[in-house]
Structures are given as structure tokens and as C-alpha cells.
Amino acid sequence: MRDTPLSNCERRFLLKAIEAKKRLDGRQTYDYRNIKIAFGTDYGCCSVELGKTRVLCQVSCELVPPKDSRPTEGIMFFNLELSPMASPAFEPNRQSELLVTLNRQLERCLRNSKCIDTESLCVVSGEKVWQIRVDVHVLNHDGNLMDAASIAAISALSHFRRPDVAIQGRDVTVFSPEERDPIPLSIYHMPICVSFAFFLQGSYLLVDPCEREERVKDGLLVIAMNKHREICSIQSSGGIMLLKDQVLRCSKIASVKVSEITELINKALENDRKIRKEGGKFGFAESMPKERITTLKRDDAPVEMTDVKETASDIVNRTETTTEAVPSPVLVAMGTAQVGEGIVNSWALDEDEEDEPQTEDRKTGTVSDVCFCAVE
């Protein structure tokens, strides 16, 4: 199903806001959205939330014969799927350009950077090697799928444990997880993709574009880097002309962001490892906050508080002091008191009264809506 097209005024509004250095959700130009990483009960299952974009990654392994050209190396297989759950624009079994781009970028980021030691995946040279399969499913599309997918993939690979094997000559025994503890993969470094969206012919850039911002972008630059400041891959799409210093600036921003994200991934892995060792409950069910159906749930919305004090004092100074709201009661007669003066009687207006000017009427009109208390 085709997505509803963006209207012209929405497009103009977004571009004007970007020119004024403002974003829809109040972030700064170089800010990422909130990243939440959660691991499942199985080893190698990871779910990443980048704002509202949700991605699930599952790593699995299988013993297969190796490729003829590389008999001593294991095989890495990457597969990214855009499910219709993510966006109504994604149709099942449709090979769209976006799908191909994301798959290629993920492969380039993780396979070509040699972040996993494939030699250690060899069991019997030329006959049996481990094939590590990484499946990434996009659950919700709110922009910047590439970053979320790369974070999920590398977290899942770091979390994954493969079964232990014992080789005796030509016999290979694969131990189940109950017999022997599974072994983690040997990962040299963690490459993470950072996306930069360019607007208005490359004059403005935004880090981590959300879905609306992606629709009005001119071009996209994706830099895959690790925390040792090594660039693993750069991809520029959209056909915009980028200057050299723009690309250098982006790589500097990327190195800062990548080190933050790598720290976050390591912390999440550490937490999970600790909980599993202590024997506590782990998995998705524990890491999701308790969402009760009956309560009103809203994400915390950031509020800009930079000039709140001045604005508040301004408003206080400008408003006049309010007059006494409640008038004191007036004793009319014994046992009868009156509080306040009523408004003009509007029930029955005689014809001659209409000619009189209104202001006089208000002062001399009959009193109604008055509180009379008759005390016996």
C-alpha cells in the first residue's frame, strides 16, 4: 500500500524549521533519540528501540561445509527484513530499493570490516565450519533504520554463544548447552553505523533523522565506525555534492556518537551477564516496563526550559493584581443579607427601555442573581 503523500505545507514547514535549527521532537542537530537495548532469553536475541523505531535481531548458527575459495573460514550470513508491521508502505515479498540498500550496508558494515574472527569458526578445515546467520526484523519504522539495525546486529553478535565442539581426528562432537557452556564469538571491534541526513542542497545536516525528516531529505551519508576511530564504511546516497570538510566534520561527530553507543551496548551486555550469573530473571519480559492497560501512559516529553525564569517573571510583572473576588455580605434587614450585586435583568425588556442607552441601564437596572439568606 502506498504511504500517504506528504503535503506541500508540511514539507515547507519541516524545511523552514530545519533552517531555524529546530527539530520536530525538540532535539538538537547532533542529538540521537533514546536508545534502549534489551536481550531475550535465548543467547543472540536482541531488541533495539531508537525512539519509536524498533528492530529485533536474532543470531543462530549451523554446521555447514565451507566455501571452496575459503576452506578455513566460517560463513556469515546477513538478512534484513522489512515486515508490513513496520510501516504500511512495506509490502510482504516485495524487493524494494530500501531493502536492498539496508541489506548491502549491513553486510558491508559487518562482513567487510572483519569484526568477527571467521577463522575461529572453522571446525574441520574444508569440511565443517560454523555458519553464523544474523536475521534483523524491522518492527516499527520511525526513521533511521540503518543505525538501529547495525546496533541490534552487533549487540546480538556480542551476546550470542555458539555450542562447544570437541574434535578427535575426524570425529566432531557438538555439545548441547546443558553438557558444556556455549562459547561467545570472538569479536575484534564493534562497528556502528551513524546516519546523517542533508537538506537544502547540503547546507543543513541532521543526525538520526526521524521518519518525517527522512521524507524531505536531499541526501544521506552513512558512516560505519568503531570506538577506536576506525572508519569501516562510508556510503553517500541521494546524489548531493558534499565538501571535504563536511565529510570530515561528520566523521568527527560519528566518532563521538559511536563511543557513546558502544558504551551503552557494553553496559547492557554487562547487565545481562550479571543477571544471568546471579540466576535472576532475564529476557524481554523483564526489561519491558510494566504496562498496565488501565493507566494513561505517555513517554516523557522534553520541555525547553532555557528562558523559563525570565518568561515567568515577565508574565507575573505584567498582570495586574486581582481585585477582591468575594464581596463581603451586607446586612439588608434583620434576617436578610446580600452578597454581591447581580447583573441586569434580561427576562422581560419593555419596549421603552430599549431606547435608553445601555450604560445607564446597567447601573439602575433591577437586581437579580443575588444571594439572599433568610434566617428564621
Partner: protein, 295 residues
């Protein structure tokens, strides 16, 4: 900027229209409900055969015409009929036609031969006209058009062969469900409150300031870019909030109901109309007036 804050509170729903005259036995079904076990019926849209039993596949009302049973869904994409007025947005400019998005299952088609040429001439469309298509309607433009015919696959063929249809200029577009727009003789209204409205059958409603002088020659081309006055803009904002209130309470939209809702909302501030309690008050008053008006 001062912001209004409200705490969540328990909300008592006023049961509106609980005992109305048209509350006769409507056969409402949800997907999976068995409509009948009688095999003598032919199955129409919205049904399927599940082991000899006719079952509903959509949520809606069962309609029976002699031997044909179909289910008409309550919430659906717009299904066009010939003669409907629709509002759409141009998504593509192709050879000799435009593709228009009209909230239906397929994009509608506006053929080059179905639009009025500038100056109102009647002649065969030449290759030059084809090249100049983009000057008239581009991607992202809003148009009002009428459904001329329906293709076999369900796509609508539109035409703007009248001076009242064409490109829309400054105004506000409101999205409502297609099923609450009432079918009437005319869908273009100049409301007495000072704005004009086009109620598209496809659920798109267009509010715009009433044009001063009708430029006969321009037809659907000329979109005035003069700034709209503040009073006009306030009227349009109030109308837009009223439309959202009517849509939320599933009141049929036509010029009278919109006008009554506008008048009922006058004592409130424009932004207060969107609050649920005030929305209910306004709709209650509107409903009462509509019932009196009919009775």
C-alpha cells in the same frame, strides 16, 4: 508561551442518542461471525464460505438483497460511485494523465482530456499540452474533482470539467471517515458564518475563505495567494475543530450539521472545542437542534 495543564480525570460518558427512532434491529457482525447456515444465499462482498456457513470477513452491517448477502463495513477506504465529489492530492504526473490520491484502495486517475484547458477552449489535446501538464498540476497539489467512471479494477477516473472544480488554493484540509459524509445534491457550500466548505465524499473536507469576486475565466486555475484576514482564519479554525468534534461522535456531516455545530461552539474558545467534555456538550446541543429541525 503559557501552556495549559490538566490532570487525568474520570470521564463520565453522556449516553447520547440512546433511544433514537432508527435504532431498529441492525444486524451488526464482526469478522468470523456466522451470518447464516442456509446454503441458498449467494455471497457478496465482505463474506466468505466457512464449511457451508456464510461467515463475515469484515466488521459491519449485513445487507440482504433477495438472495445476495453482503456485509457493508463501517470503517473502510473510500469506495467511489459515479458522480461523487472528491478532493485529492496529485502524487504522480504521467503521460497524458495524473495520479491522484483519494483515500481509496487504488490511486485515482485524472486524464488530461478530462480537465479544462486555460481559457476554456475545447480542442484536441496536443503534444504541447502534454508537456505543459506540470505547469498546471504538480505533485503535491490539491484538487477537487468529480468521479466520471470506475475502471474494472476499482480505480476511479476523475474529471474537472466544470468551473467549480480544479486546483485548490489557500485553506485547511480535514480528514474524516468517508462513511460519515452525507450524500447530498451539492457538496459545495458557502456557510453564512463567513467561510466556504467542500465536503468530499472520500472523507477529505476542504475549508477555505469565501472568494470575493468569482473570476469566470480562470476557472480552476487561479489560486489567490493574497493573505487571508485574521477573522476569516479564526472562522476556519473554529470550523475545523467543529468538524473534528462531529467526526469523533460520528455525526453525519452535511451543511446543516456543520452550521449548527459552529453556532453551538461560539461561546467556547476555539482551542477549547477539542477538549472531550466541551466536545460532548457541543455535540449534544447540535444533535438536539438537528432532531428539532427534522421533526
Amino acid at each position: 508561551m503559557a501552556v495549559e495543564m490538566r490532570l487525568p480525570a474520570v470521564h463520565k460518558h453522556i449516553s447520547l442518542a440512546a433511544s433514537q427512532s432508527n435504532q431498529d434491529d441492525k444486524h451488526l457482525v464482526v469478522p468470523g461471525d456466522v451470518i447464516t447456515s442456509d446454503t441458498g444465499f449467494m455471497r457478496g462482498h465482505g463474506t466468505y464460505m466457512d464449511e457451508d456457513r456464510l461467515t463475515a470477513s469484515v466488521a459491519g452491517e449485513v445487507e440482504r438483497v433477495n438472495k445476495l448477502i453482503c456485509v457493508r463495513p463501517l470503517k473502510t477506504r473510500y469506495n467511489g460511485e459515479v458522480g461523487d465529489v472528491v478532493i485529492g492530492r496529485i502524487t504522480e504526473v504521467q503521460q497524458k494523465r495524473w495520479k491522484v490520491e483519494t483515500n481509496s484502495r487504488l490511486d485515482s486517475v485524472l486524464l488530461l482530456s478530462s480537465v479544462n484547458l486555460p481559457g476554456g477552449e475545447l480542442r484536441r489535446r496536443s503534444a504541447q499540452d502534454e508537456l505543459a501538464m506540470r505547469d498546471y498540476l504538480q505533485e503535491g497539489d490539491l484538487i477537487s474533482a468529480e468521479v466520471q467512471s470506475i475502471f474494472s479494477d476499482g480505480a476511479l477516473s476523475l474529471h474537472t470539467r466544470s468551473l467549480k472544480y480544479g486546483k485548490l488554493g489557500q485553506g485547511v484540509l480535514v480528514f474524516v471517515s468517508p462513511s460519515i459524509v452525507k450524500r447530498q445534491k451539492t457538496h459545495f457550500h458557502n456557510l453564512p458564518c463567513g467561510a466556504s466548505i467542500i465536503l468530499g465524499n472520500n472523507g477529505y473536507v476542504w475549508l477555505y475563505p469565501t472568494p470575493g469576486q468569482q473570476d469566470e475565466e480562470a476557472g480552476g486555475y487561479y489560486t489567490s495567494m493574497e493573505p487571508v484576514s485574521l477573522s476569516d482564519r479564526e472562522v476556519i479554525s473554529r470550523l475545523r475543530n467543529c468538524l473534528l468534534a462531529l467526526a469523533a461522535h460520528k455525526v453525519l456531516l452535511y451543511d446543516t450539521s456543520v452550521l449548527y455545530c459552529y453556532e453551538a461552539s461560539l461561546p467556547q474558545q476555539i482551542k477549547d472545542i477539542l477538549k472531550p467534555e466541551i466536545m460532548e456538550e457541543i455535540i449534544l446541543e447540535t444533535r438536539q437542534r438537528l432532531v428539532e429541525h427534522e421533526g
